[in-house]
């Protein structure tokens, strides 16, 4: 829901955005499956989509929401009720609980493991003054990245942003996050929620040479496909099972995750571990590598078909300190990955003995 600013009441702001055909989204939608991409410990976000004919007013309204939000007691109370509901839903999710507990095993106390939605107690304790202070400290030029995609001249966009957001104070630079611990001994954790489906999460922090990233991306995708074919398509133990590689703080995370009914937990955990071990020993055929590269590139290109996706990717590159176009170049580099490369990086980096494990049932 759009909230009021010092300039517009909420209803008037909503009306204006609707009238020009603009949409602004600032939170994940809990009713949409897997719409959890922006509930992340790394950043807060706002997303706007509008017809090109209305781009200038959309920028103005967005800037107004950032610079001049109306933070009052009634609005805070209402937001806290919404937050409390989201926290309760999150607390009841086996998948979310498993992910949180795995994070905590891998980097105890690290800011990346803090709950984005908070806890019932922390949400209840937030006051009006806290939010006012937070807005002043965080809605600053030094913490903000704006990315734009669309049929508008760059110079016009820069001029508009300078006019509407140039008045923001630079603010303090973001604090440096501590490094993620690298040498954690694999941990084990378990919790009971009594849900019809259990969540299994295995993961570890890894470091690798940057030139190995394309091969590692392919290796993890191949492992994911093999796990899915074994555990899902052959044994029927899961609706979803996969392996992922993703940046995590100043390091990377290699994870395996799966949902399964409680009676399958032992077989599923064993299957994940065995599958990861077998992959390191398996023959890697060039035709399988070529097929996986096509699949990975196809999925990545599919995610870059819309302007909002391009803007998102550009923003993430800036935030991660990458050069513009790095993600595209990484995709191009996949074409050079060989079966030997995959074999080498799997053996070197994908060690199942390093995986911590959480089961929530």
């Amino acid at each position: 829901m759009i909230r009021a600013t010092e300039v517009h009441e909420a209803a008037a702001l909503e009306a204006r955005l609707s009238a020009i055909g603009a949409r602004i989204k600032g939170v994940d939608d809990p009713s949409v499956p897997f719409d959890d991409y922006y509930t992340t410990p790394e950043f807060s976000w706002l997303r706007a989509e509008a017809p090109a004919t209305a781009w200038r007013e959309t920028v103005s309204l967005l800037a107004e929401m950032i610079r001049f939000p109306k933070i009052d007691a009634a609005g805070v109370d209402e937001a806290k009720k919404t937050m409390a509901r989201l926290v309760a839903k999150r607390d009841g999710s086996a998948r979310e609980t498993a992910a949180e507990r795995l994070d905590a095993l891998l980097a105890p106390g690290h800011p990346l493991t803090h709950r984005v939605l908070g806890t019932s107690a922390s949400v209840a304790s937030i006051g009006l003054d806290d939010l006012v202070r937070f807005q002043k400290a965080f809605a600053t030029g030094g913490r903000m990245i704006v990315t734009v995609a669309g049929p508008v001249a760059t110079s016009d966009v820069v001029a508009a942003l300078s006019a509407d957001l140039g008045g923001l104070s630079a603010g303090d630079p973001p604090p440096s996050a501590p490094p993620v611990p690298r040498s954690a001994v694999p941990g084990v954790d378990e919790a009971t929620l009594g849900k019809p489906q259990a969540a299994i999460a295995l993961g570890t922090v890894i470091e690798f040479k940057s030139e190995d990233r394309p091969a590692l991306v392919v290796a993890v995708a191949m492992l994911s496909d093999r796990l899915a074919f074994d555990l899902r398509e052959t044994r029927g133990l899961a609706y979803s099972v996969d392996s992922t590689l993703r940046p995590w703080g100043d390091a990377w995370r290699w994870d395996l995750q799966m949902g399964t009914r409680p009676e399958n937990i032992a077989e599923a955990v064993d299957g994940l571990r065995q599958g990861a071990s077998a992959f390191r020993e398996a023959e890697i055929r060039p035709e399988d590598v070529a097929r996986t590269i096509n699949a990975v590139r196809g999925r990545a290109l599919m995610r870059r078909m819309t302007r909002i996706s391009l803007a998102y990717e550009a923003g993430m590159e800036v935030m991660r300190g990458e050069a513009a176009g790095d993600e595209r170049r990484m995709l191009e580099a996949l074409a050079l990955v060989s079966a030997d490369d995959v074999k080498r990086v799997a053996s070197r980096y994908l060690d199942p003995a390093r995986l911590s494990r959480v089961v929530v049932h």
Partner: protein, 508 residues
């Protein structure tokens, strides 16, 4: 060097209004085998998306085989007369294509996305799955276990049982009372022979509409479609079993205890209308005007009755006639009276008539709908997905006109739509749940109308002015997509009222 958190990332995307619409006239033909084909050129990316809407959903299933459509959708990814399951998956991966499917109440939707120069191979695979699947006996029980896992996953969310129980009560006597996924009992009882018979019955070209969208010349694509989908035998296309709404129960407001769930009121009433009828478009927009936003009539009506109005929506669920419904979904506090929520709903619905508070807000929602239409049309994979509930049986040219339909409706259509909504209030069925609610049922009737409409909040009197004014402004949408490092999932059109939809990622 990595910038440290926390950090505000601000993303702005601009779409070219109208450009996509003006340049993309569609081609519509019906092949000799009965397959309806809609071709929509769109040249923004060198890609082609193929979507097949199959008239196969719970509305077509025998009651004892509830969940068969969704189960069958899974099974079609298990191998064909020319491909094993592994070959099927490998062939899709080799193309770098995306292959997936979704089962909804009255149809199943298959989607394939590939680079344009690989479109023929991709469509050939899709046609192979749809017409030549073998439903391998050796995979049947494995796939049943996967569907049971999916059901377990969904049931882990307390909302699933709440919504299933609501559907069973509100839609009792109709096929849509049954869950799309089926139940443990029905899934366990389905035999391969039942599914095979159902497959032969439903998966014939005459029960399908193929929508191809992307970077192609229509004549070339039509020839390609004939080479792939055109080879399927005609078969016999059967209509869905007749459905009708039984009389409303005397006690139409049920209450039930639900541990671990927030208090919630779900209510529905039928609207006897085809999903592609222009009045359906009008109803969708009117319901947005009645329920969305800070100054929405529904929110005002709830607040005036002392019900905290944090999250309440009204929406139209479009299905084949006569199964479309309007659904109210309201999260309330434990102390609130569900009957007051329904009273507020009635007031908001009545406000959609000429002179009402919702009608006074209409212009901006028409503009929003038009904008939504343009943005949806700009996304070749999502557009058929977002419109699949209104494709079956739609008149020729419907998809071309649909994105800007709301802006072109005459006042008489808005009036007729509002009257349908008001009439529906006499058929409401509702269910309230919460940890403190007791099991029971009572009768709710819409309250008598007051002589004068509730005064509008000042902010509602903005420029919208009239409900028959100049709407031909910029068009627009409400779709979304995102790019992330994680796996892809398509967005649902809206959270509203999707109490039975199934978005299933069968493929990879």
């Amino acid at each position: 060097m990595r910038r440290s958190s926390p950090l505000m990332v601000w993303i702005l995307t601009l779409a070219a209004a109208g450009a996509a619409l003006a340049a993309t006239p569609t081609t519509e033909v019906t092949l000799d085998n009965g397959l309806r084909v809609i071709l929509i050129p769109h040249h923004a990316n060198p890609m082609v998306a193929s979507a097949v809407v199959v008239a196969s959903g719970v509305t077509h299933e025998p009651a004892k085989a509830a969940g068969a459509s969704h189960f069958l959708e899974h099974l079609l990814f298990n191998g064909t007369t020319s491909r094993s399951q592994k070959q099927l998956y490998d062939d899709v991966d080799r193309l770098g294509a995306y292959n997936n499917a979704t089962t909804r109440e009255d149809h199943t939707l298959f989607t394939m996305l590939a680079a344009k120069d690989l479109a023929e191979k991709a469509l050939a695979i899709q046609a192979d799955m749809l017409f030549d699947s073998t439903i391998p006996a050796e995979n049947f029980d494995k796939e049943r276990k996967i569907v049971l896992e999916e059901l377990s996953r969904d049931r882990s969310d307390p909302d699933y049982d709440t919504e299933s129980a609501f559907r069973a009560f509100a839609f009792a006597g109709t096929p849509i009372a049954r869950p799309v996924l089926g139940t443990e009992a029905t899934l366990t009882g389905i035999a391969r022979a039942d599914v095979l018979a159902y497959y032969k019955d439903r998966y014939v070209p005459g029960n399908m509409t193929l929508v191809v969208m992307g970077d192609f010349a229509p004549d070339d694509m039509l020839a390609l479609v004939k080479r792939t989908f055109g080879r399927a035998p005609r078969g016999t296309s059967k209509p869905a079993p007749a459905a009708a709404w039984p009389a409303r129960p005397g006690a139409n407001l049920a209450t039930a205890k639900a541990e671990g769930s927030p208090d919630r009121v779900l209510a529905a009433f039928p609207v006897d209308i085809d999903p592609y009828d222009p009045r359906a478009t009008a109803i969708s927009v009117l319901l947005s005007a009645a329920s969305e936003g800070e100054d929405a009539p529904l929110r005002v009506a709830l607040t005036s009755r002392g019900v905290p109005a944090e999250d309440a929506t009204l929406s139209l669920e479009r299905r084949v006639r006569p199964l479309s419904t309007v659904v109210l979904d309201a999260r309330i506090d434990a102390a609130s009276d569900p009957a007051k929520v329904l009273d507020a709903m009635a007031e908001a619905i009545r406000a959609t008539r000429a002179g009402g508070a919702a009608r006074a807000r209409l212009a901006r929602f028409v503009s929003q709908a038009a904008s939504d239409g343009v943005l949806a049309r700009d996304q070749i994979l999502y557009f058929p997905m977002l419109r699949s509930d209104r494709i079956i049986g739609s008149p020729k040219g419907f998809l071309d006109a649909e994105p800007t339909l709301a802006a072109a409706l005459p006042p008489s259509t808005w009036d007729a739509a509002a009257e349908l909504l008001v009439k529906g209030l006499g058929f409401v069925r509702a269910r309230a749940t919460g940890a403190g609610r007791a099991d029971g049922a009572t009768r709710w009737e819409p309250p008598a109308e007051t002589a004068l409409p509730r005064p509008l909040p000042i902010s509602s009197r903005e420029r919208s002015a009239t409900d028959c004014g100049t709407w031909s402004r910029a068009a627009t949408t409400r779709t979304s997509s995102r790019s992330t490092s994680r796996s892809f999932h398509a967005p649902r059109p809206s959270r509203k009222g999707k109490t039975g939809s199934r978005t299933c990622c069968t493929g990879r």
